[in-house]
């Protein structure tokens, strides 16, 4: 007997990843830490920015980094110099981190420290403006970087990434005097695809805008840890 049947699922295509991401998020909330997923194209300045931010914020926030990289551990080695614990996640062929990879990174991190003592966990994603936009890892906030050398059309060409971001950092602003680029146009294009996100101009070289960026991070950390459910004693 072969009755033709039809089941309506209505499931997200990435339900398996989202399930793992929700599980990661439960851990983050139980540990009362903020998780920020940092994304951009290769070379936009994620690692340089994190070098500055880890140094600047380490006096008042306990942090760790999960460092996504396709094959090397070069970025992880750079960030280790700040003294903040860094767990490299080499993704091999994959051009983005997914929730399972981050879960694996968390297990490695737990071998080194108790995450409940952390205030902030950075996830530096693999450099790519496409794939990471669709794969949640359990983060509370998404930050996208766009360097001034990339051109003002990128928010329109890769709109999903900029739409998903809670904060967009326009990086390498120290190069503006040497470039035929209109930063107001970059901002207008980001605003057009995502009117709600925070847009900040920064330079890891000159330090421009870093105070405002760190202010945003502190604000999110305070908001997320205050919103996390209070731990109920067993």
């Amino acid at each position: 007997m072969h009755l033709p049947l039809e089941d309506t699922l209505g499931l997200n295509l990435l339900a398996a990843n989202q399930h793992q991401a929700a599980h990661n998020r439960e851990h983050f909330d139980a540990w009362r830490l903020l998780c920020i997923n940092v994304m951009s194209s290769p070379g936009a300045g994620k690692t340089s920015l994190l070098e500055r931010s880890l140094t600047a914020l380490s006096s008042d926030l306990a942090m760790a980094v999960l460092e996504g990289d396709m094959t090397t551990q070069l970025d992880a080695e750079r960030l280790e110099a700040s003294g903040v614990p860094v767990v490299p996640i080499t993704t091999g062929r994959a051009c983005h981190l997914d929730a399972a990879m981050v879960s694996g990174g968390l297990k490695l991190l737990q071998q080194r420290l108790d995450p409940a003592g952390l205030d902030l966990l950075w996830v530096e994603n693999v450099g790519n403006l496409v794939c990471p936009a669709e794969f949640e890892v359990g983060e509370h906030r998404k930050v996208a970087l766009l360097s001034v050398t990339e051109g003002d059309d990128k928010p329109l060409k890769y709109p999903v990434m900029f739409r998903e971001a809670d904060c967009v950092l326009i990086t390498k602003t120290d190069l503006l005097p040497y470039l035929p680029v209109d930063i107001a146009r970059i901002e207008a294009h980001i605003h057009a695809v995502n009117p709600r996100c925070q847009v900040l101009r920064v330079s890891a070289s000159s330090g421009e805008g870093l105070e405002a960026w760190h202010g945003w991070v502190r604000q999110q950390q305070a908001a997320v840890t205050a919103a996390a459910l209070p731990l109920v004693p067993a």
Partner: protein
């Protein structure tokens, strides 16, 4: 090629769905997806990856049918819907307002599954008592 990872996610969801029918194995003819235009999915690549992934599995021969859904925005100023385009910076043509609300286009949905279920083979004991 994140379509490979998306296919893996889809296969995991299909595997869980199959378990609902245990001990029977559903024979799947078609899996219907809805994919919005404002996503990072290339439907043709997803279909190509799927065809390779289901070979010699319980899903062998099952087709992936993808319905694409257009990007539709709603202008929050005048409440009319519009088709945002990169050329217009996704702004509304009516009020030149940024793309605040997306009505459709972000879908990545496993909508439904067409399948048949073979009736369980009659138990040899049941046959024996009947004779």
């Amino acid at each position: 090629m994140h379509e490979v990872d998306m296919t893996q996610c889809l296969l995991l969801s299909m595997h869980q769905w199959k378990q609902q029918h245990d001990p029977l194995t559903p024979r799947v003819q078609r899996v219907h997806l809805q994919v919005g235009d404002f996503t990072c999915v290339e439907p043709d690549q997803l279909v190509a990856t799927w065809r390779v992934a289901v070979r010699q599995s319980w899903l062998e021969g099952a087709e992936l049918a993808i319905e694409t859904l257009p990007l539709v925005g709603r202008c929050v100023r005048c409440n009319s819907t519009y088709a945002p385009t990169a050329a217009a910076a996704y702004r509304s043509p009516c009020c030149d307002h940024p793309m605040e609300e997306i009505v459709s286009g972000r879908e990545l949905r496993i909508r439904s599954v067409d399948y048949t279920l073979d009736a369980p083979a009659p138990s040899p004991f049941a046959t024996a008592t009947a004779v």
